[in-house]
Assembly symmetry: C2
Homo-oligomer: 437 residues x 2
């Protein structure tokens, strides 16, 4: 593996385990690096995670993507063909900036079913939740604007807001979700442009915000008049019981901006996500989207609309839930078996990943090259950290590989940790089962 | 038409003829307008053009989109089904940030066929050319950076670069394309971050850059060490004879960044465009794209790859060429017949629109409500202007409606111009056939 130069020994050079050699300046006609706009926030982390997930020769515990083996392909194929039959060429021409009316309706209906007072006019279709976050950053952030963001959190949200020049104010997460007491202190002292949270199955900790915490968060943000951005991409991925109602279902919740996506509960390849918000926000979001990429793929939007309308989505999430529950349990057990001496691991009630914490003296970044050499990937915790810590944490996904591969991945990971621990002189740490978040 | 409140009498309120009432602040929980980041460059222009094109009750001469009637639907449908057969679930999962390898290969091969020394490593797939331009703006522009851009030009390019805070330095276009003598003076005096041009069928003038001009543009930009962005979305839409080789085919042309798309020559609904550039630029572009929307739709990319590989694209452009040539001729003749007393119109050798210039004393913005009342749309020239002029120009598209509808559209437009001219007291102007660009 190390032979191809992509995986290997360069400690700290990669974000997952892979890092391509940089383009050689010698071949360039222009000194490109000097010509690029200064942008200190560019990170290859997500690119590397996806790259690793697409490789055949590495076990991709870095990924948090749903398993292609489980996609409802027969139904999707039939729907695709029916779109060619019914919509024909209309499904391949320009679509409205705000999104296909049928899809906006279907999304609004789902949110209404979950208690939100949402109509199609509130919904703008985006290229996944990543574009939703990126557009919302541009909507609310000027260089130097302060944004309150829970930590740890989705690395793509950190990137999107920093790319707009936001100064992120970290708000800690515990087992009940964002610490609203801490947020309230922040709001009292600072001029915050918006608050960003993942109330359902926080990425990477898996924490679910309790109902009490939700109500308090709604009250505090409303009182301070601060927009509240709810990233709910994992809302439908619960494995035990449904989480509390989304924040946008609060009454009144007109200051809540809801972000959703099909990418985690169904599949990511259509690039269909959305923002649901007050009409003035939806209008602004659409204008920004227009400058960014005009509109979302028409055929993809038709397919997403039909998948939601025809019940394919609902049947799918019900069908895969027990499969992912088993995968989660298999990975938890295997990690405890192979690496339990050196880390603690949680058992989240949904999402698609576990959050691990290494014993004192071991850092996830240092583990990367060992894992690479062993043929397994993970995501080091510092990438999720708004505050710049979480160096002992790392995320492993349970949704993509089948059970036997998860088992093998945990074994490889255990070997890598053993190797690092032996190098660092860390002897089996007495790690109990601490609250991980 | 005026009854629905969307089309009508509010002079200057719409960009095409349509303008939705703004969301009522009375219903908002928060004073959203005060909370939004300052962004004076947001314009609803493209949204309104697309909206108008999707209406059944207005003749959409504002549009420059290809005609759904002509899409090769049988072939596309068969390819889509073969992707479900062959790639299956892989076609719906995450894809690499840079794009699907098969599609990057197919794009690189097309560019190589046109003389560029391009491999798949040079290519990054984007959500249409709009995203390519938006990403390139972020790649090269910091607030206040100067960018040399030909004028008039694509309004989406103006929006994308201004959104990054660029100060646009206008470079005039004549019948041979960008005035390189003017550009050279600009480059000698100013520190320009990049140059942006549409060498083939400039939007909106239809101008094609001559070979001599291309060589000189390459030489000048190379000498000054300035990145040269070539927006070639109309390159394959020639109606008489192929334009000269793209700028990226120059040798060496490593400072050229090529932007392309399937949207104008085939259809826009897949959102497939691309950037082809030096490896360091491709790497930077991918990192920015990752933060923006992670990757392009996987199924759309597979479909685009197969459309290119299987010759569907080439057969399509050859088949539709005579159809669009007739539509162009029909619209030119009809506009001369119905409105020739008040304007001059060109006959471009490709693209999908005509450029009209009104007689002195008439402004395109003032024509908007008259056209709206008559049931026809167009795009006023000031939207394409980097310099803030071209108020007497406007663009009408010939690609979307069939011949009889083009004829009727020109008739309505003629009536609207008559009404405006009579109101303004402009009597039939003696307009010859001046060079329009």
């Amino acid at each position: 593996l190390a032979a191809d130069g992509l995986i290997g020994a360069r400690v700290g050079s990669g974000t997952v385990v892979l890092s391509r050699p940089e383009a050689s300046p010698a071949t360039d006609a222009l000194p490109w690096r000097q010509l690029f706009a200064a942008d200190t926030n560019l990170s290859p982390a997500i690119r590397d995670i996806i790259r690793a997930a697409l490789r055949q020769d590495v076990i991709p515990l870095a990924a948090s993507e749903p398993s292609p083996d489980l996609f409802p392909m027969e139904e999707v194929r039939a729907l695709a063909d029916s779109i060619f039959e019914r919509q024909g060429a209309e499904a391949l021409r320009y679509a409205a900036v705000e999104g296909l009316p049928a899809l906006r309706e279907a999304i609004a209906r789902r949110l209404a079913d979950r208690g939100a007072r949402t109509t199609a006019d509130n919904v703008v279709v985006t290229a996944g939740a990543q574009q939703a976050l990126s557009i919302l950053a541009r909507c609310f952030v000027e260089p130097g604007s302060e944004v309150a963001m829970e930590t740890p959190t989705y690395l793509g949200a950190i990137q999107a807001f920093r790319a707009q020049g936001a100064r992120l104010v970290p708000v800690p997460v515990d087992a009940e979700g964002m610490r609203v007491d801490s947020l309230e202190q922040t709001l009292a002292r600072r001029s915050v442009r918006c608050v960003v949270t993942i109330p359902n199955f926080n990425n990477p900790t898996g924490a679910v915000m309790s109902l009490e915490r939700r109500l308090r968060l709604l009250e505090v943000t409303r009182r301070y008049g601060v927009p509240l951005i709810e990233d709910d991409v994992y809302g439908e991925t619960w494995l035990e019981s449904p989480p509390p109602a989304p924040l946008i279902a609060g009454k009144p919740a007109d200051h809540v901006i809801h972000v959703g996506s099909l990418s985690k509960a169904l599949f990511a390849g259509l690039r269909v996500g959305w923002i649901a918000a007050a009409p003035a926000v939806a209008e602004r979001v659409a204008l920004i989207k227009q400058t960014t990429d005009l509109f979302c793929g028409t055929f993809s939007q038709w397919l997403a609309a039909r998948i939601l309308e025809e019940g394919v989505f609902d049947r799918h999430v019900a069908r895969v839930r027990p499969v992912y529950r088993r995968r989660r349990d298999v990975l938890v057990a295997a990690i405890e078996r192979y690496a339990g001496r050196y880390l603690s691991v949680n058992r989240p009630a949904g999402g698609s990943f576990l959050w691990c914490r290494l014993a004192d003296g071991l850092r996830a970044r240092e583990l990367l090259p060992y894992a690479g050499a062993a043929g397994v990937t993970f995501v080091p915790g510092d990438l999720f950290s708004v505050a710049g810590n979480d160096e002992g944490g790392f995320r492993v996904g349970f949704s993509l590989p089948p059970e036997e591969v998860l088992e093998e991945g945990a074994k490889r990971l255990g070997g890598a940790i053993e190797a690092l621990a032996s190098r660092r002189g860390v002897v089996s740490a007495a790690i109990g089962a601490p609250p991980l978040v």
